[in-house]
Symmetry: C2
Subunit: 206 residues, 2 copies
Amino acid sequence: MGEIPGLRERKKLRTRHALIAGALRLFLEKGYEQTTVSEIAMAADVSTRTFFSYFASKEEVVLCNARESLDHILRTFAERLPGESPADLLSRAVEMIFEALADDERGWEIAEVNRLVMTVPSLRAQALLLMFDAQHRMVDALQRAFPGELDAIEAAAAVGSVIGAAKLGISVGLKQGGPSQEVIGGCRRAVGLALAGLRAVAPFES
Amino acid sequence: MGEIPGLRERKKLRTRHALIAGALRLFLEKGYEQTTVSEIAMAADVSTRTFFSYFASKEEVVLCNARESLDHILRTFAERLPGESPADLLSRAVEMIFEALADDERGWEIAEVNRLVMTVPSLRAQALLLMFDAQHRMVDALQRAFPGELDAIEAAAAVGSVIGAAKLGISVGLKQGGPSQEVIGGCRRAVGLALAGLRAVAPFES
DNA sequence: TGCAAACTTACATCACGTGTACTTTTATGG
DNA sequence: CCATAAAAGTACACGTGATGTAAGTTTGCA
């Protein structure tokens, strides 16, 4: 059975990439609201209707990469390493996110997308929704990783506080400008503070 | 000059209330997406265009009360009580939110709105956006309340972890059903865990 | 009573998003 | 190599949310 992608699949992937790249270029050129879906479709040489068979909404074309990264991280987040405490597991998850943000050769693109998401309210809202649902999955994973040791509220407190600190740390760092290395450094410090707190409290210490 | 509201103001308030009440009734009756703005306007005996002079969007008519409550809380959050630590101040803010959620005589309406917001994705996204921006204001207020004692990252870590724990605590509690008193109890426990952590870390202890 | 400002309305317009039927392209089997 | 079926893409129509504009109506005030 077809280990080779096949012409059909390859064409789909090419169209999808053309839509994403064209959309991003247009958004950065003339602004998100000022760009219509019809223009994005024309730039990729497809019909407007076809755009919506690839992406459910105009926001999705910006956030689909972030969604995929999140999915990947959450899959590897599922299993607990031997001897790992809840705080350790969360720390490892956040480090995975940092790596996805920083180490890519697409660092420039990621930074541009971040700026776009932060400045466009509807994108910010969708991104927050994405992260909120991801946190629910993290709560489930954390409870499964420590069966009988954490109830739902304790898991929610752990995930919510660490990811909450990370989100606001990134956002505050971005708002006051500065190089992205510094922003990540600030966020890492914020997460460190939240984790230090967690480790001092009974159910998470080890 | 006009201490008495005036006929014009009273009429505006009545129309506004009619729009909110009618919208909420329709949303609960036949669902959020299934209700059009035109129907809401007809129920309040105004034109569709007038609806948008009262509310910027369909979501706004659901979230305007929450927005006002948040604004009120953030105003009173501004000043630090004598001898209060950052953790104390945050604890007080969260308690204010709990009171706004629980003690009202409109408890039923608030619960219904919460259920609506949680089940409709676009409302959930807007609500998260509202809270995210509120957290930024809390970071500013916290820094102003403790000048020279907290930098931006420390303030972000404190606000983000406590509010993050509260949000996820509420959401997890709501998801697994149960009476609203119990949900608030669970959230209070989640916040307590995050606060206990904060209090154990240097910049927030007292 | 009459004027000015605020409010409301009807109308036009645009973009997002979806349903549907039709055409084109790709895969497969004789 | 062609015929057929499945998949993808297209054209078209439509509903809804949201905004601009210019007129009409109500209110406050002199």
